[in-house]
């Protein structure tokens, strides 16, 4: 019996490794092509390059505006994540502690935001009215607004698990409303804050729809948009495009591998509760 189980597990393992080639091969293709010369990379194949051209990366770094766009991505993603986390955790805290009908409706309104689409065209109108079109402020606040529903949902589930007795003892020790939240509750929410930080950061970093609609000046673009622009310029040099894509993937995959545990716990929060 145990021997049979061991055989089955072995077979499972082998078949899964074969299956995961479906995921790995496209990435490998990207890696191989990023070090080929132009003619070889014209056919994106899995053939090994005849000679290694690491200078492709240098070319991309030289004229791809990588550094300034990396800075833009970092600015937009981190400020968005911080704004989203602080505002959402505050809102979730008050909504879980005040179980009145009104707060319940507000929470449901946030949940609706999780589902319904954004109306891009009228959003442009609102941004114009606020004089925030084509600015960092505009795009950051817009990202925050789109991420708030998910983040509120995430915090809402977590704050519910923090006992109310803690609030009472904090009050006895002389805490007011904001002292209670920032000194006692917020530090306790560290695990879920990290989850929210990583997920919002990655979503923001990967998104290119909002810049497509609302950021016209290329000097404000993040890495993804700059890569896309690079792609349209060098459409026939797939070696350079592959190198640019890899430069994009490195920060994303690093964050993914390091923060995997948090990403998955956040994404499964809904399923476990449901």
């Amino acid at each position: 019996m145990t021997r049979r189980t061991a055989t089955i597990n072995g077979l499972k393992e082998i078949s899964m490794w074969i299956l995961c080639l479906v995921i790995l091969v496209p990435i490998a293709m990207l890696l191989l092509n990023s070090v080929k010369n132009v003619t070889e990379s014209a056919a994106m194949s899995l053939k090994l390059p005849t000679s290694f051209h690491f200078d492709n990366f240098i070319t991309v770094f030289k004229d791809g505006k990588i550094f300034s766009s990396f800075g833009n991505s970092l600015l937009i993603s981190s400020v968005t994540s911080v704004i989203t986390i602080i505002t959402s955790s505050m809102a979730a805290f008050v909504m879980t502690r005040n179980r009145t009908r009104l707060y319940r409706y507000v929470y449901i309104l946030f949940l609706v935001g999780l589902i319904v689409p954004m109306n891009y065209i009228t959003t442009m109108k609102v941004l114009q009215m606020l004089h925030m079109i084509n600015t960092f402020t505009g795009i950051i606040l817009l990202y925050s607004a789109t991420f708030i529903p998910f983040t509120v949902f995430l915090f809402y589930g977590f704050v519910g698990g923090i006992p109310k007795e803690l609030d009472e003892s904090a009050v006895i020790d002389g805490c007011g409303g904001s002292g209670l939240f920032f000194r006692v509750i917020f530090p306790l929410m560290k695990p879920v804050s990290v989850t929210a930080l990583i997920i919002n950061f990655l979503n923001c970093w990967n998104d290119f729809v909002l810049p497509l609609y609302f950021l016209n000046s290329s000097s404000k673009w993040g890495m993804i948009m700059t890569m896309y622009n690079y792609f349209s310029q060098y459409i026939s040099s797939w070696n350079l495009v592959s190198a640019a894509m890899l430069i994009n993937l490195v920060p994303i995959l690093t964050v993914y591998v390091l923060g995997q545990k948090y990403i998955i716990s956040g994404m499964t929060a809904g399923a476990v509760k449901g």
């Binding site: 946030f110 609706v112 442009m124 109108k125």
Partner: protein, 291 residues
């Protein structure tokens, strides 16, 4: 201290204000502007009633993108869930390298849709792409296709990319669900002489119903909203053969026919709002039973 002072409503203001001004207000404005001829050419916005909606549903060339959007949502939802379930069952226990394998299968979820779309443009290339190359190598060269050049096939190829990208997400949700199945249920089933399939259908699947619901809901919602994958892969082409509703909205935005584009946005909103009512009910059920 009084609860109203301790848990002040002011705490909710920043989040709600942002969400209200930049998300709800544009959506509400959409309902008004969808009834107008708002466009980039003239400054005057004229009220034209339901004309935009009439135009959407009477123009026969629009049926293509409505059909594409619905098919995309349905087909990808089913495949993502089935493949995700299969992966979760295989990687739940027993396999030694399961953690590494889970990491690999989930990885496409965090990669930018734009990069994924552009890579698959090359994979699908009829002459040099590795998909046709692979089919020839295993002797199925007859099945090689012009994956994104053929108008009939383009939307299906885009579905393939979405399934490739998001099955890992379904897997993770199912893995979380599988931890909820009590172990003694399997022991009891073993004593009754149940085989693998009996246990799967009679024990595992019933416990996974919540995960299946969540996955299907999230899959359908993201399927209806799809934009980036198709934008990067085919840009709606060839012609308008693989266009979906969000791509049409983007094109109308480019053309400056804002009123018409907004009407399409409202249609998508209504589609999703109907689904959201069901979803909100599921999300909020535990809290209701608590009280």
């Amino acid at each position: 201290m009084y609860a109203s002072k301790l848990y002040s409503w002011k705490f909710i203001v920043p989040a709600f204000l942002l969400f209200f001004v930049l998300f709800l207000v544009p959506n509400l404005m959409g309902f008004y502007y969808s009834l107008t001829n708002w466009n980039a050419m003239s400054d005057q916005v004229k009220f034209i009633g339901l004309d935009n909606f009439v135009e959407v549903f009477t123009d026969k060339s629009n049926f293509r993108f409505i059909y594409n959007t619905l098919m995309f949502a349905i087909v990808t939802s089913i495949f993502k869930a089935v493949i995700g379930l299969g992966l979760a069952l295989m990687l739940n226990e027993g396999v030694k390298s399961k953690n590494v394998l889970r990491t690999i299968f989930f990885m496409p979820v965090v990669i930018s849709n734009l990069i994924v779309g552009l890579i698959f443009q090359q994979i699908y290339n009829p002459d040099t792409g590795i998909l046709n190359g692979f089919l020839e190598a295993i002797g199925l060269g007859a099945f090689s296709q012009s994956w994104i050049g053929d108008p009939k096939l383009a939307i299906w190829s885009s579905m393939g990319v979405e399934i490739w990208k998001a099955s890992g997400f379904n897997m993770v949700i199912f893995l979380a669900g599988l931890q909820m199945v009590p172990k003694d249920m399997y022991e009891a089933a073993d004593i009754d002489g149940a085989n693998y399939w009996n246990k799967l259908i009679k024990v595992t699947i019933p416990f996974l119903i919540p995960s299946i619901t969540i996955n299907m809901m999230l899959n359908v919602i993201s399927g209806l909203k799809v934009f980036d994958v198709i934008f990067a892969l085919t840009n709606g082409g060839p012609g308008r053969a693989s266009e979906v509703i969000n791509l049409t909205i983007f094109n109308q935005f480019g053309l400056g026919t804002y009123g018409y584009g907004t009407a399409l946005g409202v249609i998508l909103f209504l589609f999703l709002a109907v689904i959201s009512i069901g979803l909100v009910k599921i999300f909020t059920r535990p809290e209701v039973s608590e009280r």
